[in-house]
Amino acid sequence: MSPSSASLTHLARLEAESIEIFREVAASFERPVMMYSIGKDSSVLLHLARKAFYPSRIPFPLLHIDTTWKFGEMIAFRDKMAEDFGFELRVHTNPDGVANNVNPFDHGSSRYTDIMKTQALRQALGAGKYDAAIGGARRDEEKSRAKERIFSHRNANHAWDPKNQRPELWRVYNTRLAPGESMRVFPLSNWTELDIWTYIYSEQIPIVPLYFAKPRPVVERSGTMIMVDDERFRLEDGETPREEIVRFRTLGCYPLTGAIPSNAATLPEIIMEMQASRTSEREGRLIDSDQAGSMEKKKQEGYF
């Protein structure tokens, strides 16, 4: 067989590009960390990190920001992955939020998200003195992400300045930082949602079972099906959860994550369903729909 780089498929190219980014982080920063949110993108990120450093173990810790309201199955999956693949897992929860019992029911989604996610993240990044934080964001997710660099500079307050980004040429990444500054790094920048799913399929990457349809207890809130994952869920008077065959397209805090009715119980079925469906991915997440440009605003404040 005559070898040819032209024969590399787009997934092979995306994989190689991501691996190169991981290695550049390991070689260029003193205290990198990888954000691990347990979702499908994190699963792909973890898989690529293992490939990048094989046979070495992943040479940096994985950080999970635990809001305390994640699905139970997510936490179980997280701990199993850490055990199976032998990476260092660090978990951080905002202690002030816990002390004040901040929750999505009493405080509203945007305040809750700010305290338990954005602020918790800043606390953890500050305490860990991480100079590079790897995340699983993709440019196809949202308009403001479409302009973000792969190596995205953050000032000492973890803020992003979209109008003043460093030009990013070829694959020559400027990894230089002043004291206190940090870098957010996005190895999946050029992947699309379909790429993620087809890669999970072809590489047989483990994902949280919540992505697959099965009967689950749900209630309906403002037109969205919410799964009652544990006894902390506040049912309204006379409300009882009903069993529906549902699955999740995106995973987060269970009281804020909408389920979709679906019978897709295998990867091919999920991909088929996704391709046939006509709703964009982040629609299921409540935080983006507050106001135009809301994601851009959150990112300037330090959200991933």
Binding site: S4, R23, E24, L169, L194, T198, T279
Partner: protein, 632 residues
């Protein structure tokens, strides 16, 4: 719809495994869109997304809502709204940064870099072009070729984009005229004949109305070429990089335990096979490839584009930044080359300044040694220049502090493209492409003599060193230097003052007071100081030297010579009140310009070796404090 299956939606009776393997086996095309501001780039990309059915229902609903009161096509949609991302951009109605878009058909996945049209965003266009294989160059059929068309073509050629599609848009507004189309195409071919593009096509389209995007338009029966999307699906752009010489920049040394030592990186070009004889480009140390390791199992060979870990058959010194090659095919390894550079920062580029240069995985301090000329990006005319401003393109020579491995950019984009980084603020300042290595660097080595600095120091009875004074005019630099020199000479030591004013009467009398001239002024003085110290002297340099970069450069030129930066920190009010030479008064009256502290900045040292407080200490006290630091 069309026979072209644009949307990646499997029908219910599709064999899912067949469909999935089709998805995973697609090829990839990365292209950029460029052209003038109003040529309709965003509309075209929006149209491509729409026609490949990538607009989802919720996006479509909000889009129709947003499209009211705007310029819409038959579908009632302003397609440009799909792609103009940042809030600031939507407010201003222009694209100010590179945005990446994704769509795919059953044959190909596309990554689109949407780049801005304005001249001030040349840098964004160069950024978009650096990762693109093909460019869609938009022209408004009513306007024909514009300055921007020429500028963008030049930048494409500079960055090495080899495939160009001239999209003659708004063809509906010239009544689908074949003559207009043919004239623009002919004009462009004449203009672009020397730009080195490998493939070219012109397509008449209306992005707004969808003509010749997916299917041949019935309104342009005279057009015999392929519509845009089928053309993009079918064009072969991959230069087979595996046919080029083998280059493997080592990214990371993979060392999980004492029994395994591998070198991780991406094959930049060529093919590596188990058993191949390789060389380290810098040390020329040979070895054989023992294995090619990946998590999916060992490979027999790795081709350009693959990220792998190479294990060698013997222990040789290899670290990040090394380039592995086949023997007899090594890249240039030297410290000087000529390059083209696109300047991307507000702060101008000056010859003599020191930067960090990153090329592949190598990062070294480097200096622009010469600015040969700059090229007007609109007319392609070359002219002499003393500096390069934001968005300007110039031909430069570069000297790196230590030799690096590189190839001409036209031969290898990975080992021939580099960025320059500011050493203080860490900004990416410029994008460069190596034209060729300068041979003289390889042959010119430093002559070493038997009588060296140590020998002279012994003879003189003291160590040679450089004391570099910095501070405003009138701060007291020369007064302190004078006191020190008198004391040293009285003690029988060999000292000499290099004074700003005096040197400008002789060695530097050809230099003015622009920023560029000041950079050169300091560079020359730093070199003279080094020579004098090498001759065994204690050199007292008394120059305002207002810029951090130049003081850093002076320290680097000094090399291993002891170098002490003394900042005479006297507030400007005090200096101006003293005004020993009457210069502040003149500057205030506007009789002299570029005067430090008045209309030219002074960048105070952040880490001076010694800070003397000229407002509160007497010159004698300052001289005493400094003398004690000299360690003589």
């Amino acid at each position: 719809m069309s026979t072209l299956s644009t949307a990646s939606i499997p029908s219910p009776d599709t064999d899912i495994d067949v469909w999935l393997s089709q998805q995973t086996d697609k090829s990839l095309l990365r292209f950029l869109t460029c052209g003038s501001v109003d040529d309709g780039k965003s509309t075209l990309i929006g149209r491509l997304l729409y026609d490949s059915q990538l607009i989802l229902d919720d996006q479509l609903a909000s889009l129709k809502n947003d499209s009211r009161n705007r310029h819409v096509g038959d579908e009632g949609i302003d397609f440009s709204l799909l792609v103009d991302g940042l809030v600031a951009e939507r407010e201003q109605g222009i694209t100010i940064d590179v945005a990446y878009r994704f769509f795919s058909t059953d044959k190909r996945k596309f990554i689109v870099a949407d780049t801005p049209g304005h001249e001030q965003y040349t840098r964004n266009m160069a950024t978009g072009a650096s990762n693109a294989d093909l460019a869609l160059l938009l022209v408004d059929a009513r306007k024909g070729l514009l300055t921007q068309t020429r500028r963008h073509s030049f930048i494409l050629s500079l960055i090495g984009v080899k495939h160009v599609v001239l999209v003659i848009n708004k063809i509906d507004l010239v009544d689908y005229s074949e003559e207009v189309f043919a004239q623009i195409e002919a004009d462009y071919l004449e203009f672009a004949k020397d730009l080195g593009f490998k493939s070219f096509a012109a397509v008449p389209v209306s992005a707004l109305r969808g003509d010749n995007i997916v299917e041949p338009s019935t309104r342009t029966p005279w057009f015999k070429g392929q519509p845009l999307l089928p053309y993009l699906e079918n064009i072969i752009v991959d230069e087979d990089k595996s046919q080029a010489l083998f280059r493997f920049p080592v990214q990371w040394v993979n060392r999980p335990n004492l029994d395994f030592r591998g070198f991780s990186g991406t094959v930049a070009s060529g093919v590596a096979r188990v058993g191949d004889e390789i060389l380290v480009a810098a040390s020329k140390k040979p070895a054989k490839i023992a294995s090619i390791v990946t998590m999916d199992g060992d490979l027999e060979q790795a081709v350009a584009g693959q990220a792998v870990t190479l294990v060698l058959d013997r222990e040789i010194d290899v670290s990040r930044g090394d380039v592995l090659t086949h023997s007899g095919q090594t890249p240039d390894f030297s410290n000087q080359f000529q390059a083209e550079i696109v300047w991307m920062a507000d702060e101008p580029a000056y010859p003599g300044r020191s930067y960090l240069l990153k090329l592949g995985t190598q990062m070294v301090p480097a200096t622009i040694t010469d600015l040969k000329h700059k090229t007007n990006v609109n007319t392609l005319e070359k002219s002499a220049a003393k500096r390069l401003d934001l968005n300007e393109v110039g031909t430069i020579t570069i000297a790196t502090d230590k030799p690096i491995a590189f190839d001409p950019y036209k031969d290898n984009g990975t080992t021939g493209g580099f960025i320059l980084i500011d050493r203080i603020h860490n900004l990416t300042l410029g994008a460069g492409t190596v034209t060729y290595g300068l041979q003289r660097a390889k042959n010119l080595s430093y002559q070493s003599f038997d009588v060296n600095r140590e020998a002279r120091s012994r003879l003189n009875g003291h160590e040679a060193q450089i004391i570099w004074f910095t501070g405003l005019s009138g701060s007291g630099k020369s007064t302190v230097a004078n006191l020190i020199e008198k004391r040293l000479v009285a003690e029988g030591k060999h000292a000499y003052i290099l004074d700003g004013d005096n040197v400008r009467h002789g060695l530097n009398k050809d230099l003015g007071f622009t920023e560029a001239a000041r950079v050169e002024n300091i560079r020359r003085v730093a070199e003279v100081a080094r020579l004098m110290a090498d001759a065994g002297l204690i050199v007292l340099v008394s120059f305002i030297s207002p810029f951090r970069n130049e003081r850093r450069l002076a320290r680097e030129i000094a090399g291993d010579i002891k170098f002490l930066e003394a900042y005479v920190d006297t507030p400007i009010e005090v200096c101006e009140a003293r005004d020993p030479k009457g210069l502040y008064a003149k500057a205030r009256r506007g009789e002299i310009t570029n005067f430090t502290g008045i209309d030219s900045p002074f960048e105070a040292p952040e880490r001076a070796d010694l800070v003397l407080h000229g407002a509160t200490a007497t010159p004698e006290d300052m001289a005493e404090e400094l003398y004690r630091r000299l360690g003589l």
